[in-house]
Amino acid sequence: MSDLLEQADRILESAKGSDQIEIYLSRGVDTEVRAYEGEIEQLSTAASAGIGIRVLRDGESGAKVGTAWAGSLDPSAIEDALREARDNVRFATEDEFVAFALPDGVTPATLTLTDRSVTTTPLDDKIAMAIDLERIVRSGDPRIRQVESADYSDYVAEAAIVSTLGVRATYARSGAYVSVEAIASDGTNDQTGWGLSAGRAPGELDIDKAAHDALSRATRMLGAVKPASMKCTAVFDPRSAATLLAIIGGSLSGEAVVRGRSFFANRIGEDVAATSFTLVDDPTDPRHFSASVFDGEGLACRKNVMIENGQLKSFVYDTVSARRAGTSSTGSAVRGGIAGSPSAGCRALHLLPGELTQAEIFERVGNGVFVVSLTGVHSGVNPVSGDFSVGITGLMIRDGQLCEPVREITVASTLQRMLLDISYVGADVEWLPGSAAGQSLAIEGISVSGS
């Protein structure tokens, strides 16, 4: 692994001049298999590597940055990128808050996030998992009419970050996933269900669980109706709750706050959520598939408590947003690969678990709607104003029991209201790919729009 770090060191050494320089190298291998009707429909394997370079130049009224990237580690591609970054820097605005990360002495967590078996597992075994997954779903219930996709995928990714300010970090992560999309039919209508299992290695995957998940999600939606509009309590299942937490995490980014694009701005210390709500961003917790030792600027990742017992405690910052806010980085720089510059973001969100099972929450809620899938999250949620409106599928809850399935409806409120209207946080934490884990969440006062 460390040869990537050494390569970054060499590039930095040869690039040194009057400017400050940061080199970000990444490298990865991926495998993807899709099964269809017992055969491989698609198999793709690839290795990729790339470099992102940032050049920082000090001036009279602050510093400015220029960046460039290349999807290759060829010496000539690196040389071109360096020249481009140096040219780009001329055009940026000098800004007293612009700076590269300074090593802050925080000790990096000791985490094992890669499993060699991703690369040593024979390809045939991986193919077999996708084919098995499809077979189990197809034969799992006579109402399954089609399996639209049954996929196995894995990756090993590594990155190295070095800078002339003394940052020197390298980290790696592996992951393996199976996912399946089933279509069930009752003869007149179709419904779909999506199942997933995730791990750091193929051996951790639970094919039966993923298959069963898709089967039950598709079949239990058969006969779904469009109910009349109403106002009620919505219970979000762990998967849809995780999506909700990731949206809230976006507004907790210090960058959104200093840019005047978060409804949480100027509210530190206020009660912004129900007292049962304690939200933590902790990339050092290895149960998160998104766990990481270092952030996107090469500082150690750390645990940050965002909202504690409903009170807004802190935002997550990278170096520049922290300086703008008059504080220091929380080790929360994220970057979207070689082409992305660091920005502040939550990486591994979870809630302090409550004490109730999902069934107990249904019982307490009595009547409402159980939300099992969300659509239109990118089109119906405004993280600046807080307006929230998403399409859902789910089941009605009556007298504490799950009843008829419902579809073609939206649930709406505002993010501000929803946080305060949380009535129950479940104990059923589910660790999921993405930036948040989820558990059952009951939220009152939701507008359901139907017929």
């Binding site: 793709s44 940055v65 999807g71 779909t192 659509t375 119906g380 998403v390 399409g391 939206t410 139907g450």
Partner: protein, 473 residues
């Protein structure tokens, strides 16, 4: 500047004889089809936030994706190494999916290269970076001059120049040079009731000539005005109402309500509510829907698709009757027909699949103002912000980012953002008026983890009813 200002002449990314040898090697273990897609893309972007030029970024990505088809199975591999050795290694990796070998060496003869010139007049690489910055600042000035309640302005400019060559074992050999330019203005207005946002994009398959100071100023004014107007917005209604979609904005409705469901991959897997319905009435007779890669300059324009098939104009629904689906090369090949020019991929690192280009509803005969005047109570949607569909059930949503109430035939109070939800075939049947003020909007379409630029368009139109996902009862 990254690369050069050249808009053509980079078709020799890899020599023809090398491509032929690589295709031959890809089929050495059997298989009936192989393809090499070589791409060289340079991009640049600049962002202005609160009048600070935060960053200029440039990038370059170059590589090849190779696929080999054995029966129902596709093997795929990609590499950033464009040497013959690198390409041969990728060909072998793609062919590794072969069950048992035995094809022997096949000789591939490519036809003459069909090289499509770019239509862009000002290559992004020929534009001084300082001129780009001036445009960003101009947009910021205009947006702020719209009102003191504008508290945040972010302006982004990006361009990409994508040269590619695609060659396959059927002899197809084509090259294209796609230049795309986009410019976005995002504003935040702050008032007593909190913050509201406004957003306007400009995007086209064109060079820098797209970004005149006037066009940029209009986008900035529009974004600022939208945010300011929404400060007085009331919660959107919850429940079913007639909906009037302003020209341009509503194209996304068709993209989601039926576009994705008319893509041959969903059809062939029987994962679309439109499967088996060619020749049947699937929409109001007012609906004639076209997917058209040939609309020069539009965001979804392509001279040739990513499989070497020329872009074309395809009528999908004519007077409400389903006429055809959209096809890519492989699925069309299986059906013994031609691709409709809808085989697209995000980059050389991705397999192509069926994708839309510019999807639009043909104009009707109604007057746009009359449509509003004849709506006693409803919602007027001035701008949409994206959507999502489940093709198997037909249920879809799309978001409104600028909308108003219609009361007694007049556009009245602004409404807060929300999603609208419906079922494709049901909503298509509810189109009861289409006007003549056609316009197009750019968008980014995501499918199976790949993003491609698309256009959407229609004239002002009305749906007799659709579920509005607001909170006001």
């Amino acid at each position: 500047m990254y690369g050069t200002g050249t808009l053509s002449g980079m078709s020799n990314l890899v020599e023809q004889d090398v491509l032929q040898r690589v295709l031959g090697a890809a089929l050495e273990r059997g298989g009936e089809f192989a393809e090499v897609f070589v791409e060289d893309r340079t991009t640049s972007s600049a962002m202005l936030d609160q009048r600070r030029v935060e960053e200029l970024s440039s990038g370059r990505d170059r590589g090849a994706g190779i696929r080999v088809v054995f029966g129902e199975t596709t093997g795929f591999a990609h590499t950033a190494d464009l040497s013959e050795r690198g390409l041969l290694a990728a060909a072998q990796a793609a062919a590794a999916v072969a069950r048992e070998g035995g094809g022997g060496v096949r000789e591939i003869k490519l036809s003459d290269l069909v090289d499509y010139p770019s239509r862009a007049t000002t290559a992004p690489g020929d534009v001084a970076k300082a001129s780009k910055i001036e445009l960003l600042l101009h947009a910021d000035d205009v947006a702020r001059s719209e009102g003191a309640s504008i508290t945040q302005v972010q302006v982004a400019l990006g361009d990409s120049t994508r040269h590619f060559v695609v060659a396959n074992s059927d002899g197809v050999y084509a090259a294209d040079h796609q230049v795309r330019t986009r410019f976005n203005v995002s504003c935040v207005a702050t008032g007593d009731g909190g913050m509201q946002t406004g957003y306007r994009p400009i995007a086209g398959t064109r060079g820098f000539e797209l970004l005149t100071p006037d066009a940029v100023g209009e986008a900035a004014r529009g974004a600022a005005h939208q945010a300011i107007t929404k400060l007085d917005a009331r919660p959107a209604p919850s429940g079913e109402l007639p909906v009037v979609l302003a020209g341009g904005s509503g194209g996304i409705l068709f993209h989601e309500a039926c576009g994705h469901g008319l893509e041959a991959d969903a059809i062939m897997k029987q994962a679309s509510v439109y499967a088996g319905k060619v020749g049947q009435l699937v929409a109001s007779p007012l609906v004639t829907l076209v997917d058209d890669g040939t609309v020069a300059g539009e965001w979804g324009y392509l001279a040739v698709d990513d499989e070497g098939r020329p872009g074309s104009r395809n009528v999908l629904i004519e007077n409400g009757i389903l006429t055809d689906y959209m096809w890519d090369y492989l699925r069309a090949r299986k059906e013994g027909r031609h691709s409709s020019g809808n085989g697209r991929r995000q980059s050389y690192q991705h397999l192509p699949m069926v994708r839309m280009t510019n999807t639009y509803l043909l104009e009707g005969e109604s007057d746009a103002d009359e449509i509003v005047a004849q709506t006693p109570l409803g919602v007027y949607v001035a701008q949409l912000g994206g959507g999502q569909v489940n093709t198997a059930t037909g249920d879809f949503v799309f978001g409104m980012t600028a909308a108003f109430l219609i009361e007694n035939g007049k556009i009245t109070a602004p409404l807060r953002d929300c999603n609208l939800i419906g079922n494709g075939p049901d909503v298509l049947a509810r189109v009861d008026a289409v006007a003549t003020d056609f316009s197009m909007m750019p968008g980014t379409c995501g499918k199976d983890g790949q993003s491609v630029p698309v256009g959407c368009g229609q004239a002002t139109m009305r749906l007799s009813g659709m579920t509005i996902g607001g909170t006001a009862s």
